[in-house]
Amino acid sequence: MIRLRLERRESTPTWFSFALPLAAIITTLVLCSGLVVMAGANVWEAYTTLFMSALSSRFNLVETMVKASPLIFTGLAVAVAFRAKFWNIGAEGQLLAGAMAAAFIGGLSILPSWSMVPLMIISAAIAGGLWAIVPAILKTRYKVDDVVTSLLLNFIIYYAMTAILDGPWRDPISGYPDSPDILMDAEFPVLLRATRLHLGVLLSVMAAPIVWWVIRQTTLGFAIRAVGENPKASAYGGINITKVIIITALISGALAGLAGAGEVGGIHFQIMAGISPGYGYSGIVIAMLARLNPLGVIPAAIFFAIIVTGAEGMSRATGVPVFLADVIQGTSLLTMLAALLFTTHRIRIKQAHHG
């Protein structure tokens, strides 16, 4: 009888960093092709429009990068948190906190015009960080599960935001439950004329190597990794776990908050209920696909930006519901998680002995 069994492996080959996400994505696309067939479309046609429409023109290419920017930020936010095994599922809410802070600062006419953009960025980071500290304190002080609290906090801030938009912050000109537009001076500079490629996109691409450096090269980064990998040993080694988790939460939330700043300062110029179509949750998928490596977050985020942008075109051309993009996200998280098993284990085919 032949049995398959999992065995621990000592080291992980470096090419796995590329091969595993690729394998996960290919598996996902194969699995999801069943859905395309069910929708009565040609798989090849649906997938080519899905991937190509985002890359077909200069305009679409720029739009894909614009979509990738918040995803890079939320992906980084999750990657940092998960490194410390701080299960921050609240990037969505932290993004909203950052967006609200940016929109508030961006609407203040008393500030000198040169200071508006930097102040928006800083305040968004602070707001996101503070909102992320809540589950961190609940985890370290009260031993409350961080997954559940960070999730519930997403709903709390969302309802709080819509309450304010419905009341004191409603745009008096349009009358819609949106915040008033930010001032002209608060709009993020555009990097490429006649496009929406804004400062936030540049910041997100720059943030990835910085976060990578912090995690890899600094004492703080070492502490974050140590707490994630072996909390008992790191406490024994003199690391203050509570402090590390709270700092991790601050960094993670600040990154998610920056995603909100970019959306307000570079895209919408105001706050409305639908400002984030789930960027925070996509960040989890992206971080996992990147194997929590901040540098890997950029390609992973671009990949999902392509899918999100392309899904509309695919839906128009082939009739496959746009929600295929959501299924692809969920499926690739699961396939990547399964693929990660190969970093710690190998499959051995065993001949079982009788008697």
Binding site: F155, Y159, A160, A163, D166, F323, D326, G330
Partner: protein
């Protein structure tokens, strides 16, 4: 003030309270079985959403509500098996698997709903379950109507809590299940199949979450909307902690949550108070977090929760 209190505590208030508590009880007991066996099932939110969709669709096309419930149960069981494949067979992170399950199931729910129904201007609806009055009992003053003039699933929820307690604490299967969640190696030595027990717990967990989801789309709202669950699943995960992994205490937590939710619905409708309704929607979530903070320090989760079991590795 008296007027506000009068507006709130009508008979209808208690009827609504029971109706709101019912899906929470189903899903909370479902989550509890999984966690007692050592698996945190964070797929709950997505499983409820997908079941709400499949249950509604099956009822819509078959014109039979019970076929809808059956479809929802089967959906939940299938999701439970998938969750088992990830967390039991492969031994992957329960946190990330659960979030992945929720994203995956939610995506499927949206995808198939759009595929089946397109984008109608008014969402299709069904004739929902109707209340069935229990003879005699429903005539009891005050409590008779809210407790005993409800839909059939509510009565099943009443029976579910004592049944769950009985199964967990009085049957051999319940004992194996708890041992698997506390000390899988001991269970294994005693001849219990740890993996299979966890699969069974996850299937039961999924089935109950399925009923909870179907209740929301087939009793509470009689239509499927993308926001039909909106965080209720996550609340149930919190209720299990709040209930210290006991069916009775968790169900009591569900009733408490339902009371707050029913209260906020009343206050929303009441003209006496002028506060944005979103703040009322927020309130139950805030209180859930406070309740968790109050009990978590002393709460003792099943010892093997979150820990995959591999026979050859100790």
């Amino acid at each position: 003030m008296d007027e506000i209190l009068m507006q709130i505590f009508q008979v209808g208030f208690f009827t609504a309270l029971i109706r709101i508590a019912t899906p929470l009880i189903f899903a909370t007991i479902g989550e509890l079985f999984a966690e007692r066996a050592g698996v945190l099932n964070l797929g709950i939110e997505g499983i409820m959403l997908l079941s709400a969709m499949t249950g509604f669709s099956a009822a819509y096309f078959s014109d039979n509500l019970w076929i809808g419930i059956l479809a929802a149960i089967l959906t939940g069981v299938a999701a439970g098996i998938l969750m088992g494949a990830l967390t039991v067979t492969l031994g992957l992170s329960q946190h990330v698997s659960g979030i992945g399950m929720t994203l995956f199931c939610s995506g499927l729910a949206f995808f198939f709903y759009r595929l089946i129904f397109g984008q109608p201007s008014t969402p299709p609806n069904i004739v929902a379950f109707q209340p069935v009055a229990v003879p005699m009992l429903s005539d009891i003053p005050i409590i008779g109507q809210p407790l005993f003039n409800q839909t059939a699933l509510v009565y099943i929820a009443y029976a579910l809590v004592p049944m769950a307690a009985f199964i967990l604490f009085k049957t051999p299967w319940g004992l194996s299940l708890r041992t698997v969640g506390e000390s899988p190696h001991a269970a294994d030595s005693a001849g219990v199949n740890v993996a299979w027990t966890r699969y069974q717990a996850l299937m039961l967990s999924g089935a109950l979450m399925g009923v909870a989801g179907a209740f929301l789309s087939m009793v509470q709202f009689n239509a499927f909307t993308f926001g039909v669950i909106s965080g209720r699943g996550w609340v149930c995960v919190a209720l299990v902690v709040f209930g210290l992994w006991s069916p009775w205490r968790s169900a009591a937590g569900a009733l408490l949550f339902a009371t707050i939710d029913a209260l906020q619905l009343r206050l929303q409708a009441s003209s006496a108070i002028d506060i944005p309704y979103q703040l009322f929607l927020m309130l139950p979530f805030v209180l859930t977090i406070i309740a968790m903070a109050a009990v978590s320090r002393n709460a003792r989760a099943p010892a093997a929760l979150l820990k995959p079991f591999r026979k050859e590795e100790r």
